[in-house]
């Protein structure tokens, strides 16, 4: 304990030298999403500008604060002033803002998006508080509390923000006390199924085994979801502290983080953080004199979606093909190397330090009864404000998509939740509260937190086809319902998308989906039909238009539409002709253009560049040549 107090005091001192310093502090978000927007170039410009001005300053490279659509985000905190955030900071803009702030004492309020100070400061400068931004106001930050505020590669920063305080409390409570606290919090697993966390821990604690393991599931295989990546990149110690608490509670000595190989920065940061823990005595033999031994290692996945399923993950860790095994026995009783194994999602672990630090009761005040706490979501697709969000469970889809996400530019069509095993919900579901039960009742699942917003330029049949391509390709092949079923679903959807669909095809979809749900070996096969079933249920008219009207209103299924230019809307800017690689668009500048549909390959380039919505998909004019396929 004494040792911990010592490292904590030291960490606080180091943190205060930054916050109380007489030097400016500059924050720049350099997680993968920040880099996606060019943050590393901005960072170079910041360093260059400081050198040019001969101005010493602290530069903190922080994780993702959430609104990815505003990135790169650069923040400046001058001595005695609150931190101020600037968005879409290109290298030139960084130079301009820094120069104004450091030389002219001008905070460029017109360029600022928000500040982190008090209301007074808003009165003084007109800059709104950062957390009052439309995207941030409805959010509650517990899991993401440190993301964007600390340097994730610095253990001191985490310690100075009550890091490892949850683990210290856990040591005081003892293993059963910890499980009690988790029970009181009502925490349910964030990996998708929502299994009560305390229950899994209890089973694992009571299971016999000379060795026990804790595995953090950071496989995040759902395309379109990046919550776990962001959390690890922005606050890796929170996840590791959660694993430490879990290991202590169930009596395990070994931990593994199974992380996707596609996340190199996350892998790197985990490695660094584990090294720091070992040095600080937070891992190893007799941690902080408690008698508890624990070590954590990182294992990289090798690109197989099904390895996110717990028994497949265990097979993969044992050096086998990552194929699921029948349950029971459940991993909590018989898992890795035949020993009791606790597998929880990255976010579940990330929540635990907060539960142990502030109490289960405190945590359960957020969210709703039976669905307590907050959950992170990656809000992507056609929403205006894309990024990473954290909200209390039970918030409605409408609040998430429209208040936080800012709605869509073209009319809203649907929101897809739960990844390839989830479903697609229409506008009529917007008032559904987002929690485990309500999402399941709607035919979708909550999943790990991917929310993909779709507008009218997305074709629903094509989307179902897309997910089945994924499931068919990722099916491990062990059980027939999944291996063959996903293939039949895919081929049928492809047939409809080609314009060769008949009414009987819909029956085939229902029948095969039903068989898969009832007989597949693991969750992957049982839920792979979800995208088909939900789209059939909520967007039947779009299937019908494809089958009977031979028309794809969204202009995606290339054989089922052609492009037209609406002369009244076309000012003749010529952009479309420029991008057309088939020479199918002709016309004179400043006069409406035309499309030669014979030449057009419907590559969508012109549709994407037209700023006037003058190019529209219309039904094919000539009678279709229907080819007979066997």
């Amino acid at each position: 304990m004494q040792r911990f107090n010592q490292i904590k005091q030291n960490a606080l001192k180091n943190w205060k030298t930054i916050t109380n310093s007489s030097l400016p502090v500059i924050y720049i978000g350099t997680a993968s999403c920040g880099r996606a927007a060019g943050a590393l170039k901005t960072l170079e410009a910041i360093q260059g500008t400081l050198q040019e001005l001969n101005q010493p300053a602290y530069i903190l490279q922080v994780g993702c604060i959430g609104p990815c659509y505003l990135e790169p985000l650069m923040d400046i905190q001058l001595p005695g002033k609150p931190r101020i955030s600037y968005s879409k900071v290109t290298p030139e803009k960084a130079h301009k803002i820094l120069q104004a702030a450091l030389v002219g004492d001008d905070l460029s309020p017109s360029l600022a998006v928000g500040h982190f100070g008090d209301k007074e400061f808003t009165k003084e400068t007109g800059i709104p508080p950062f957390f009052d931004l439309a995207m941030l106001k409805p959010q509650v930050r517990i899991i993401l509390r440190n993301c964007g505020f600390i340097d994730p590669e610095n253990l001191d920063h985490y310690l100075a923000h009550d890091g490892y305080a949850g683990f210290m409390n856990a040591l005081e409570k003892g293993p059963t006390g910890v499980i009690e606290e988790v029970k009181e919090s009502g925490l349910r697993g964030r990996g998708g199924a929502g299994f009560p966390t305390y229950k899994k821990w209890e089973i694992c604690r009571n299971a016999e085994g000379e060795d026990k393991y804790v595995i953090c599931n950071a496989d995040e295989g759902d395309p379109g979801a990046f919550m776990n990546r962001s959390l690890i990149e922005g606050d890796p110690h929170a996840v590791l502290e959660g694993m430490l608490i879990a290991g202590y509670a169930i009596g395990a000595n070994h931990g593994y983080v199974y992380v996707r190989a596609e996340y190199p920065l996350a892998v790197l940061r985990l490695g660094k953080a584990i090294q720091q823990m070992r040095q600080a005595g937070l891992l190893g033999i007799d941690i902080l004199g408690s008698g508890f031994n624990f070590d954590i290692n990182v294992k990289e996945g090798a690109g197989a979606f099904v390895c996110g399923e717990e028994t497949a993950m265990i097979a993969s860790l044992e050096g086998e093909r990552g194929m699921p095994r029948p349950r029971p026995p459940f991993p909590a009783e018989k898992g890795l190397n035949g020993m009791p194994t606790l597998i929880n999602n990255t976010e579940t672990f990330g929540i635990l330090p907060n539960v142990l630090r502030k109490g289960g009761k405190w945590f359960s005040q957020f969210g709703t009864k039976g669905n307590s706490g907050t959950k992170t979501f990656s809000l992507v697709g056609k929403a205006r404000h894309t990024g990473l969000i954290e909200v209390p469970l039970g918030m409605t889809l409408r609040q998430i998509v429209f208040d936080i996400g800012g709605g869509t530019i073209k009319p809203f069509k649907a929101v897809q939740t739960g990844g390839p095993l989830g479903g697609c919900l229409s506008a009529t579901h917007l008032d559904t509260p987002v929690d485990y039960e309500n999402m399941r009742a709607s035919g979708s699942i909550m999943g790990s937190g991917g929310l993909i917003v779709l507008d009218e330029s997305t074709c629903i049949v094509d989307l179902a086809r897309y997910f089945l391509t994924f499931s068919e390709c990722e099916s491990c092949g062990k059980c027939t319902p999944c291996r063959i079923g996903s293939r039949i679903l895919l081929e049928t959807l492809e047939k409809i998308a080609r314009g060769e669909g008949v009414d009987e095809d819909l029956d085939v979809l229902y029948r095969v989906a039903d068989t898969m749900q009832r007989t597949a070996l693991c969750g992957a096969g049982q839920t792979a039909p979800n995208p088909v079933l939900t789209t059939l249920k909520y967007f039947m008219n779009e299937y019908q238009t494809h089958i009977h009207g031979r028309y794809c209103p969204a202009g995606v299924c290339t054989e089922l539409f052609e492009y037209r230019i609406i002369p009244e809307k076309c000012p003749g800017c010529g952009r479309c002709a420029q991008v057309c690689s088939s020479d199918a668009i002709y016309g004179k500048k400043k006069e409406p253009y035309s499309i030669d549909t014979e030449k057009c390959i419907r590559c969508r380039s012109c549709y994407e560049v037209c700023k006037f919505d003058a190019i529209v998909p219309v039904p094919v004019s000539q009678p279709m040549k229907v080819e007979v396929t066997l």
Binding site: S32, C33, R35, A36, A37, G38, A39, L40, C68, Y69, E71, G221, P223, G224, F226, R229, R260, A261, E262, Y263, P264, L265, G301, A302, G303, A304, F305, S316, E318, G319, E320, R321, G322, M323, S378, L379, V380, G381, K382, T386, G387, L388, Q416, G419, P420, G450, I452, L454, L463, Y466, F467, F470, C476, V579, S581, C603, R604, S605, E608, V609
Partner: protein, 174 residues
């Protein structure tokens, strides 16, 4: 890869089945692919059959058994990228280079792969070229990038192994 190189790579690993995947990953990171020779040597070291190794390695999409191309081009077809036109980028690659996922141009210059989500979904559609991620891509921007690759075939194609070589992500200006 020779036996001594593999021993060097597996210094901190225990010679047991659970080390197979990490070892294959290290071999691929060093050599760019997994050669027949490497498989033979790994089989001898870990005392498991070559068939077993092929069985495991071929299950995971990460492993490849052919020499990699000089430049690596990846198009993301994850859901967020799909709805933002990822498929059109894949079509553009086919049109420009005649490549399908997993293929390399005959001169060995460009290797092409379609991947599922690079974790930058909020910046969709994304493309990765030699470890650099380019966000908000369109067919037009992609053609430019492909032309750069075909005209300067010198761009380095090393796999990201150290911090400096991690994928860095840059935004394409319109």
């Amino acid at each position: 890869m020779e036996r001594s190189d593999i021993i060097q790579l597996s210094k901190d690993l225990v010679y047991e089945k659970g080390s197979l995947i990490p070892l294959l990953q290290r071999v691929q990171q060093t050599e760019g692919y997994i050669s027949e020779e490497s498989i033979r040597e790994i089989a001898r070291l870990l005392k498991i059959s070559e068939n077993h190794i092929y069985g495991v390695a071929s299950f995971y999409s990460q492993f490849r058994f052919q020499k990699p191309g000089k430049n690596k081009l990846k198009v993301c077809l994850g859901t967020a990228c799909h709805v933002q036109g990822g498929q059109l980028l894949a079509q553009e690659v086919e049109k420009q280079l005649g490549l399908h996922s997993g293929e390399t141009t005959p001169d060995g210059n460009i290797e092409y792969e379609e991947v599922m989500c690079l974790g930058c979904c909020a910046q969709a559609a994304v493309v990765e070229i030699n470890g650099l991620i380019y966000s908000k891509m369109t067919s037009e921007k992609l053609i430019k990038k492909i032309n750069e690759l075909t005209s300067h075939s010198e761009i380095s194609a090393s796999l990201p192994v150290s911090e400096e070589e991690l994928p860095q992500i840059v935004e394409e200006s319109a």
